[in-house]
């Protein structure tokens, strides 16, 4: 057992940090949030391609398919750095699509749909995600394609099809535009998950032909879907309540877990970064004749932040190694908490400056809120972990 990072893993993490410092410096982030709201929040295609060329979306893709040939731990380390830099964009969905596509797990659709996903590996395609759980869709206007997850099935559909029926909202995070997909506005809680996926305009009782969202498949583009590995909808999450209708296995479940983990990795990066920001400020800012970091009240806030970040790190890294659903639920839960609460404490340490737009602290907090609502949210993670307590008596921690 050697849980520490290998030299190669350290080098990959350092390389990613260096690339982001060079290509996505703070000035770029600030330009995105300080400029015009509409323009600034668009995914920077050039940067996206550059990240693709650097292998961000191809880390798990086999070398034979033009990828880097590494695993989930490496993807997690890279995503941690992306979270640290507050890199905007639908990173997880694009990575997942690239991985699916290269693994041949997307069945052959028509040529147009195939070309939608083929570019994901190289960062030529921006893919966002639509989960049936009701989460908002990020960066929809910039996206070429949407990775749509039903209860068990997965498909990739053109972004335009989703965009036409989705409603743009004024996102709390200035760097993450959000859309509310239509079906979730109207479906009562608990009703929607009974169906496989959002069915726009399908009359009640009409059996869906396909499992994932159909937006009338415009332009004759058939969705590219995951090769049929149909698994009966188990319909049981942790308690049988909170996650009704979402299968615990099957391609969609697996993608959800990977997305949750890659999102947790970004939360971890943000949580670690806000510790640094708080400590830097506490050393620099002087009141009552000494740095505020010399006061225990401030020191103890900072210490608590480090504890949260390091606890989250240990489970996020472990989940990347084991890929166990329970580990991933713990990782998402603790990383969400670390990111949100560390950003809150960082804001507090910054005092009045923390409340300004000019400070970066609010960007970490708002992004952490966005990510906490994506994929496995706290209630789902806690229910899954609770169920694990009853089913894994005497099992490994």
């Amino acid at each position: 057992m050697d849980f520490q990072l290998t030299d190669d893993q350290r080098a990959l993490k350092a390389g990613m940090r260096e690339l982001l410092e060079r290509r996505f410096p703070r000035s770029r982030l600030r330009a995105a949030v300080d400029g015009e709201a509409e323009r600034g929040a668009e995914v920077d295609r050039e940067l996206w391609r550059e990240l693709g060329a650097a292998g961000l979306f191809a880390l798990r893709v086999p070398e034979s398919a033009g990828g880097v040939g590494l695993g989930l731990p490496e993807a997690v380390l890279a995503f941690e750095e992306a979270g640290r830099a507050l890199l905007p964009g639908p990173l997880a969905a694009t990575e997942l699509t690239a991985h699916l596509s290269a693994a041949g797990r997307l069945a052959d659709g028509d040529a147009a749909a195939g070309s939608l996903v083929a570019g994901a590996v190289r960062g030529e395609t921006v893919v966002t995600a639509l989960d049936q759980g009701g989460a908002l869709v990020e960066h929809l206007a910039s996206a070429d394609a949407v990775l749509a997850l039903g209860a068990t099935a997965v498909e990739v559909i053109p972004a335009g099809a989703v965009a036409r029926s989705a409603e743009s909202i004024r996102s709390v995070d200035p760097a993450t535009p959000l859309h509310r997909p239509a079906p979730y506005r109207t479906a009562p809680h608990g009703a929607a998950p009974q169906r496989e996926a959002p069915q726009r305009g399908a009359p009640h009782g009409a059996a869906p032909q396909r499992e994932a969202p159909q937006r009338g498949a415009p332009h004759g583009t058939a969705p590219t879907r995951v090769a049929p590995q149909r698994t009966a909808v188990a319909g049981t999450g942790a308690s049988g309540e909170a996650t009704t209708g979402v299968a615990a296995s099957g391609p969609a479940a697996r993608l959800r877990r990977e997305a949750a983990l890659l999102t947790a990795a970004q939360q971890l990066g943000s949580a670690s970064r806000t510790v640094e920001l708080a400590v830097e400020h506490a050393k620099r800012r002087t009141q009552f004749g000494r740095p505020i970091g010399a006061f225990q009240a401030v020191q103890h806030l900072c210490a608590g932040m480090l504890v949260r970040a390091e606890s989250a790190r240990s489970v996020v890294y472990a989940a990347a190694v084991t890929e166990e659903p329970g580990d991933i639920a713990a990782a998402k839960l603790l990383a969400d908490e670390a990111a949100v609460r560390n950003a809150r404490d960082c804001l507090q340490v910054h005092g009045g400056m923390g409340f300004t737009w000019e400070s970066d602290v609010h960007l970490h907090l708002k992004r952490a809120w966005v990510r906490a609502g994506q994929w496995q949210c706290a209630a789902e993670a806690e229910e899954e972990l609770a169920a694990g307590l009853l089913s894994t008596v005497g099992a490994c921690l």
Binding site: K283, A318, A330
Partner: protein, 387 residues
Amino acid sequence: MDLAFTEDEEDFRHRLRAWLADALPKLPDPPHPADWPGRRAYDCGWQRMLHDAGYAGLHWPEDAGGRGVTPTQHLIFLEETERAGAPYVGAGFVGLLHAGPTIAAEGTPEQRARWLPPILRGDEVWCQGFSEPDAGSDLASLRTRAVRDGDAYVISGSKIWTSHAEIADWCELLVRTAPLNADTPKHRGITWLAMPMDAPGVTVRPLRTLAGTAEFAEVFLDEVRVPVTNRVGAENDGWRVTMVTLSFERGTAFVGEVVACRRVLEALARTAKAGGRWDDAVLRRRLGRLAAECAALWRLTQWNVSEAQRTGGVPGVGGSVFKLRFSQVRQELYEAAAEVLGPDALDAGQEWVADRLSSLSYTIAAGTSQIQRNIVAERILGLPKGR
């Protein structure tokens, strides 16, 4: 990032499991918690069994009579013994984890030969005389005086929070051999001594904790004579000598406790399920969250052990971070237990109620959470010295 065990490690685990399966049924019934002589006999008997099977002093260096196993093997040992329900180190704690390693690192060959083998065999029990009524978190301000008189030190003062004092043969004692004054740092002038507990002038008074049991004692010292040959390290160098013990801490200090946390949590879930409380989503989610916390403690442990294995010594960041999280989670666990128990949470005869009371010491003992946060802030985050 590799959580898989090597063939050697798996082999170690399997041999240990086989031995535990054979050895544990041979143990006598555990003594009543208030029966101190019985507890000593039980704990020492278990240590003797470990010794005879080659499992004594696993983490001690080989030249000190230990086995010199890797931190990972030590982790496996602690995990497996806890899972198998083996006895806790108990009365052997100070000897095996503090005094022994200190003597192994800093003692003369004669001192090592005199004191180490009886610790490993379970023949002699040690206690710790560090804290004083006026020197708790600020340990270096301790005042128990030792004055040189010929070939002995004459010691007067008092110690507190001394576990196992009633049944100990020896006490690892920190005394002041140079007066406290403004000119010299207070951690200079401290000396480490091995004091026989049966020496004239030693009085032990048990301290009753809020749990109602006498887990600690006060030790009063009235002109106790301790031979100079019982001094480990140089006079006035006792602070450094004591800190050396820390280099034996390899991230494994709470392995058994973390395994136990998970076991308690699973039992809580089963109890809640059986009693109909599982339908309460608030309680269910609370237990789910604690499962994540337990997972984090386990992974942090593996992280720290791996770090110690690489550096061969002190887990830098890990110790205080782990301790802070662990002590908090342990207390939250028993708060949740009280909710599961409902009205029975007021029945002090319930195991979880007793454990709930004991858990209140976790954020105080072995460095309060406030001291741990100071350490994290100053030594890890590099913030200025606190006020």
